[in-house]
Amino acid sequence: MPEAFLDNSLWRNIYCVLAGDSSTCAARDYSSGFFPAGMEWLAFLVSAAIIIFLIVNAVLGGVIVLIWGERRLFGRFQSRTGPNRWGPFGTLTSVADAVKTMFKEDLVPAEADKILFNLAPVLIAAPALTVFAIIPWGVGTYVADLNIGVLFIMAITSLTTLSVLTAAWSSANRIAILSALRSVALLISYEIPMALALVGVIMLAGSMSLGDIIAAQGIPFIIVQPLAFFVFFIAAMAEMARAPFDLTEAESELAAGYLNDYASMKFGLFFLAEFMAEISTAAIVTTLFLSGWKGFDPIPSHFWFGAKLIFVLFVIIWFRMTLPRLRVDQVLKFAWKGLFELTMINIIVTAVLLAILPNPSTSELWIMAAINWPVAIISIWGVSKLLGTAPYSHPQPDPNAPSYPVGSESIPTDAVLGAEPSNAANQAPQAQQEGGN
């Protein structure tokens, strides 16, 4: 059994039932499995398929629920009801939408590069699903615990841009290409603060494995690393192109951008990928900063994870509903001139603290938090002062500004039309008729 799956109870249970010859299986009384000896490879494949089936369906079901929840929340935020017709509280609306999407006519633009056009939705959905392979949903519930888990997330999510480019280019649509240009600019800018924000967390945990990071969180890292959380959350919003960074889709400018020409289930896959990215981002934030599945004992770890996940999703939706979109140059400036500096401050402060307190215990983590919070508040305030726009001090006309002279002079009195205005108009026709003749 590969080492990546060793601690995985989900994997181990299924694999031991099927094959049951490993030393780890022996401890659980599975000395002989379902498959005869020599068929371990089949057991491996079948258990892999079962786990993939479980995770993919859980994620897709989650997407359905998320779409419904997001729309309900949108409704509440906008003082309206939201979907409430199909099923109790409109819960089946997403299902109906999914069915509708699948049965729509699949249109391919005549000018499109057919191969790439069909490939792009697959390219976007595959990485979005792959990320879920390493997310620990609860104690021992994950597909793989890679020792470079955090880097794996970064690498896989960066593939999204390739598919956006493919989609844009293959649709032969100029608006889509503009959207793809923005997407690349966003990726290049936000990948760096996102990765650097995680450096603080990795330093504290001493590992890039998500399991180790959860284990290291005596207290949630959001308390110890507020600056890293701030930067990571914003960068993650930008990476998945959510408001206020939804430049690639920018409904009011690009009108959906790169997925402009997609219809039917191809569009559906883009849509799915977008919401899967939302779930995976929330799951990663939960794992890295909110101590993952950790919680009080009577409640199972999966519920803790779920509750934290839903809370993060709520915050993401809240952001999306509240904030207007930033302009491209502002978004890039924010990444390079704001977030990048903040991550640097965070790395330096964390490094100094770790030099003083190596392998921190929980109480030492509290000390770190006490130092990190003032640093975070001061540096975020400083950056916001540097990047913020100064408000107008005088909305009313400035007495010193040259104002346009309105009604300052009067016309000579003999020039004023003598007769009463209502008749003045009536005199015109006679004159006009004379002129006409």
Binding site: F77, Q78, S79, E251, S252, G388, P395, P397, A401, A428
Partner: protein
């Protein structure tokens, strides 16, 4: 982006979520920068001016509703003033007060729509828009009480309005005004100081005063540059000379100033309506049919009357040959003329600002194309 790229020409519209109707812009981009813009009009051209030549003066009121369909009361008002000037009709005082109230309510509604859509163009996913629309709904409810219609009101008639306000209108109006003030307060709290709104709109699409006046641009756009030009104040029509109100000016003349002026004007309109409520007097809402017949036959001649519409000077030029229908009707459409400087505002700017600037002009395709 500093990298020189090959300029791309993109057709934005006529089917585009942010063109406020069916408008088309042929835009040339260099990366994100706008190199050239060519507006293309006419997708909503219905020939209202030609249609008016075959309708009686009262029937034309319904045509004016459909020009700027988010401020039909004001369109009615401008048209009715032109008819009254042409035919020499003396309006009934109560009718005048009622149409002033209706017009100012419509101005608030129109400014709310403009603000909501500006924020929608800024990328706020509908929330501010729906909040402004909610207040607009209240105003439309009030219109429903007044005339039974919500959008295409056709409330005004030569000499006044066609029916008096029902008894329950006045308390509803009082409540509505309080709601509007409260919602404008909310709007200002959450948006006027919002960093994203501010950084997106401050200093974009600045237009100098002289250029604005030279391009015949009027209304909130002109007042946002600090020119104190409001026809309600400078050329009072109806009973605006009996009303005292503040003209809100901003000096920056950028997108933020235009947004700010609209919000403040909506607030000022509430004051105007309150003064109208105080001064309104009982009486007939329109002259009797002996004074103003159903079929008006103005003497041959021409008349031009303009009001301060929600988007600028809204004028009607009517020519009569003595018949029951105007010989020629021309609409001085503020939406169309305010677009004159669109190229100056957009060229050199960013793509992201394109629709924000476009939204800050506040136009209505029904009025642009007529």
């Amino acid at each position: 982006m500093a990298v020189k790229t090959q300029p791309v020409t993109v057709n934005l519209g006529p089917q585009h979520p942010s063109t406020h109707g069916v408008f088309r812009m042929r835009v040339m981009f260099d990366g994100e920068e706008i190199v050239d813009v060519e507006p293309v009009f006419g997708y909503l051209h219905r020939g209202s001016e030609k249609l008016a030549e075959e309708r009686t003066y009262t029937q034309i009121v319904t045509l004016t509703d459909r020009m700027d369909y988010v401020s039909s009361m004001l369109n009615n008002q401008a048209y009715i003033l032109a008819v009254e000037k042409l035919a020499g009709i003396e309006p009934s005082p109560r009718g005048v007060w009622l149409r002033m109230i209706a017009g100012e309510l419509q101005r608030i509604a129109s400014h709310l729509v403009a603000t909501g859509f500006l924020l929608q163009d800024l990328g706020a996913l509908g929330t501010p828009l729906i909040y402004s629309m909610r207040e607009r709904e209240n105003i439309l409810d009030l219109f429903e009480m007044l005339c039974g219609a919500r959008i295409t009101n056709s409330y005004l008639r030569p000499g006044g309005v066609f029916m008096d306000a029902p008894g329950e209108f006045w308390p509803a109006l009082d409540r509505g005004l309080d709601d509007i003030v409260r919602s404008i307060d909310d709007l200002e709290t959450y948006l006027s100081g919002n960093e994203i709104v501010f950084s997106r709109t401050k200093g974009t699409a600045v237009l100098p005063q002289e250029l604005l006046i030279n391009a015949s641009i009027t209304g909130p756009m002109l007042r946002a540059s600090g020119v104190d030009w409001d026809l309600r104040h400078r050329a009072p029509y109806d009973y605006y000379d009996r009303i005292s109100f503040e003209r809100k000016l901003h000096t920056a003349s950028d997108n933020y100033a235009r947004y700010w002026v609209r919000v403040q004007e909506a607030r000022e309109s509430v004051n105007i309506i309150r003064q109208c409520i105080d001064q309104i007097e009982p009486g007939p809402v329109r002259p009797s049919f002996d004074d103003v017949p159903r079929l008006i036959r103005p003497p041959s001649g021409d008349a031009y009357a303009a009001i301060e519409g929600s988007k600028g000077e809204l004028g009607f030029y009517l020519v009569s040959d003595g018949g029951i229908a105007p010989y020629r009707m021309h609409v001085r459409s503020s939406s169309l003329i305010n677009l004159t400087l669109l190229r100056d505002m957009l060229i050199g700017g960013q793509f992201g600002d394109l629709f924000v600037t476009f939204g800050s002009v506040d136009l209505n395709m029904g009025e642009v194309d007529r």
